[in-house]
């Protein structure tokens, strides 16, 4: 029993049960089908054996039976035939000899094979050619008294009824019927009856035997590519033969005339005008009659039959006052004419029905034989028992195997489920130890890899969270170092923008009041970005606040900063900076640049770059730095806008890897030269964002604006 797990559904109809049931049902079905197939095959074998055996006996009797029937008919028709009395005596003698031979034949069979219990019955349909009438006569061979008797004296009414039934199905060959006796009081054993048709003519018998083979080929559904054409030819042959027999036996049936062309229709008119009827027709009359006659036949198209043709002939006979020729049988003559002129005749009636009718017209009777089925079926029953026992023995073993077998698979799956649950609980060190190279073994390897990767991912996630927390803290510290509020000085407007690329940025800007009329403006960019740059920025900011005063020149401040940064920071960190001291009274601006972007003065729709240059702070030693360092001075005017910025603005990239550039930047400044500092800043940032259109920011962006009003 599996233990219950929280939030995991319990197993109700498990895989074990499902697989077991599928296996059991499958084997039960297969056993059943195989058993039934074997039973049926055994039955067919027995039936074939009985049929073959009975057929051999019946064929032996048949010759004598035919002789008996022939002479018996001659005797009975003696008065009609007008033959002489010696002939009658000969017939009687021959008839008695035939029955004697039949009588001798039976004891031979019975003594040869004691298991045979024979009853013999002949069902005769007598055909009188002259009167075209038929009558049924049932004869019964009484082997106890060695004579042929009328069937009404027979004790076996059931046999007679069966033979009557066989008459209706003679086209299928030798007939077989198993009889289970309903009346158990008689204590009669079950039996089988086999019937064999007897024909008066040898030709019919030959045709019948051929047709039996053809019928078997039809019902056996042989491969189409090999046998179809042959079968079609045979079908056509048998159809023609059956029609021929029916026509010559004066059997009225539905026969179709397949007239193919005008020549055939003209021939049909010839038969009407010259063969079938007599009378004088003028040439003109004949021409008109022929045209009308053929057109009427053509209008019937595929419905042209013997019947239609006769009706048409009758109609024209009356119209042209013709007479029917004597001694010409209506349809037989027509058939002969069509045969001679190669006009084919067919019938819409199925071939089986045609065959039955054709045989019946030439059928003398059915010989039936009744056998005890016990002797034949005892082996069959024994075989049945053996097959049943074998099927049951195998089936029972399979049930047990079907119940046990899924356990091997399910146990492995359960182990996998337990392991997966353990991993789900966070135990990533869990190892699946499945052996074998099957699907479950492969799955266990995949689970092991999954556990290992999950563990690694979890460790990375923890590290990332730690780093994120630290960076967040650095960002908070750094944001305090930047001026939260810019000074509010009369006739000066300030505005600033700062966006770091990561949590800790390397840019710095500040406005530091030095004296009542002096203030320092500073913007700096530490090389790189991130935590390291942020730390250097913090140092720089501290140094600036320490060294800056109204008496210290910007160039001197730069030299001091460079010395400290050069000595106290790593060689890969350096700082570009612009530092200026603005006198609010005289509007003079003393400034110095250390490798920073030039500061801009926007004045009346023009942008003026202040001299830049110098070397970045911390990059070189004092002596080298002093060679490049210099202080400069300029006078600002009313409405001038001083713009300090870092390279993050002009080097911002868009999705097409194009830089924002100084030209775009300057254009925005020019366009907004008369606006207040805050508006100019917003315009620049809006244009910049529009340009980058969501492209990832690659550097810190800082801007400080001061407008003199």
């Amino acid at each position: 029993m599996r233990r219950k797990l929280k939030n995991v559904r319990p197993i109700r109809i498990g895989l074990r049960l499902q697989i077991s049931l599928i296996m059991i049902f499958s084997i039960a079905l297969i056993s059943f089908i195989l058993s039934v197939a074997i039973f049926k095959k055994s039955e067919q074998t027995v039936i074939k054996e009985i049929t073959h055996f009975s057929g051999a006996i019946l064929k032996g009797i048949k010759r004598e039976t035919k002789l008996y029937l022939y002479y018996d008919r001659e005797v009975r028709n003696f008065k009609k035939s007008g033959e002489s009395r010696p002939y009658l005596n000969d017939c009687k003698t021959n008839r008695d000899e035939a029955i004697q031979k039949v009588m001798q034949f039976f004891p031979d069979i019975i003594s040869r094979d004691t298991m045979l219990d024979v009853a013999f019955l002949i069902n005769i349909i007598e055909t009188d050619n002259t009167s075209e009438s038929k009558r049924n006569r049932f004869l019964y061979f009484d082997r106890n008294h060695a004579r042929v008797d009328d069937a009404k004296n027979s004790y076996d009414e059931e046999l007679i009824q069966l033979l009557d039934f066989f008459l209706e199905t003679i086209e299928t060959g030798v007939n077989f019927k198993q009889i289970t006796t309903q009346n158990k009081k008689i204590d009669q054993d079950d039996s089988v009856v086999v019937g064999l048709p007897v024909f008066s003519g040898d030709f019919t018998e030959e045709l019948y035997n051929k047709y039996k083979d053809f019928y078997k080929s039809l019902t056996r559904s042989l491969p189409a590519n090999r046998e179809t054409s042959s079968l079609q030819e045979q079908h056509s042959y048998f159809e023609q033969e059956f029609i021929k027999r029916l026509v010559y036996n004066y059997t009225d049936f539905d026969y179709k005339i397949n007239a193919a062309n005008d020549k055939d229709y003209n021939r049909l008119f010839v038969y009407f005008s010259a063969v079938r009827y007599t009378g004088r027709l003028t040439n003109n009359q004949r021409e008109i009659a022929q045209k009308e006659f053929t057109e009427q036949l053509k209008s019937l198209k595929s419905d042209l039959s013997f019947q239609n043709y006769s009706e048409t002939c009758d109609q024209f006979r009356k119209k042209y006052n013709l007479r029917l020729k004597p001694n010409i049988h209506n349809w037989t003559g027509l058939y002969r004419f069509l045969e001679r002129n190669s006009i084919s005749v067919s019938s819409p009636v199925p071939i089986q029905e045609l065959a039955l009718q054709a045989y019946k017209s030439d059928l003398n009777g059915i010989i039936g034989i009744r056998l005890l089925s016990k002797e034949f079926f005892v082996n069959l029953n024994r075989n049945r028992n053996e097959v049943t026992n074998l099927a049951l023995a195998i089936f029972l073993r399979f049930i047990i195997i079907a119940l046990l077998f899924p356990g091997f698979i399910i146990r492995k799956i359960n182990k996998l489920a337990d392991g997966a649950y353990e991993i789900g609980r966070g135990n990533f060190d869990y190892k699946f130890k499945m052996r074998g190279s099957d699907e479950v073994g492969r799955l266990s390897d995949i689970f092991n890899i999954m556990g290992k990767n999950l563990k690694k991912a979890r460790e990375e996630m923890i590290e990332k969270n730690r780093m994120s927390t630290e960076l967040k803290t650095a960002h908070e510290i750094q944001s305090v170092l930047l001026p939260s509020v810019l000074p509010d000085i009369n006739k000066l407007q300030f505005s600033s923008y700062y966006a770091s690329q990561s949590e800790a940025g390397g840019d710095y800007y500040d406005v530091i009041p030095l004296a009542p009329e002096k203030l320092a403006l500073v913007i700096a960019d530490v090389s790189g970005h991130g935590v390291g740059s942020g730390l250097v920025m913090t140092i720089t900011r501290t140094l600036i606040h320490s060294f800056s005063s109204e008496t210290v020149k910007p160039s001197t401040l730069m030299e001091k900063l460079n010395e400290h940064l050069y000595l106290n920071t790593a060689s890969n960190f350096f700082v570009s900076m612009f530092y200026a001291v603005y006198d609010t009274k005289s509007h003079s601006l003393n400034f110095s640049s250390a490798g920073h972007n030039p500061a801009l003065i926007v004045r009346k729709n023009s942008v003026k770059e202040l001299p830049a240059g110098g070397v970045a702070l911390g990059a070189v030693g004092r002596e080298s730095f002093e060679r490049f360092s210099s202080g400069k001075n300029t006078i600002l005017e009313k409405n001038d806008l001083l713009v300090l910025y870092t390279d993050g603005i002009v080097e911002a990239m868009n999705n097409n890897n194009e830089e924002y550039g100084e030209e775009r930047f300057y254009n925005v400044l020019k366009k907004n030269h008369d606006k207040d500092a805050e508006t100019v800043k917003d315009a620049v940032i809006k244009d910049l964002k529009s340009f980058t259109s969501g492209h990832e920011q690659s550097d810190d962006i800082t801007m400080l604006l001061m407008r003199i009003t």
Partner: protein
């Protein structure tokens, strides 16, 4: 003591099937212990594959019978020993370790 079900079953199948196979083969060659084989076949129906009921006396004709009867022994031994070990472990306590 606990049974290792798989090992017990496989070893039992080998131990029983091999002698049975030899016995059936020997019987097919010279009717050795034919009564025992007849007795075996009365409770293990083999239909046309019967070893003792084969019309032909050639050894080749009896090979299917040998195989069929040996399979019977293998399957029956597998079933009985597996069930026996399973039941034994179940009745003797926790069977997880034994598996």
């Amino acid at each position: 003591m606990k049974f290792n079900i798989k090992a017990f079953t496989i070893s039992s199948v080998i131990v029983c099937t091999l002698p049975a196979f030899i016995l059936f083969t020997w019987c097919a060659i010279n009717n050795f212990a034919i009564e025992a084989v007849v007795l075996f076949e009365t409770i293990h129906p083999s239909g046309a594959f019967s070893l003792t009921n084969t019309i032909s006396s050639s050894f080749t004709a009896k090979i299917p019978g040998i195989i069929f009867n040996t399979l019977y022994v293998a399957v029956d031994t597998f079933i009985f020993t597996f069930l026996f070990a399973l039941l034994y472990n179940l009745l003797s306590g926790n069977n997880k370790k034994a598996r």
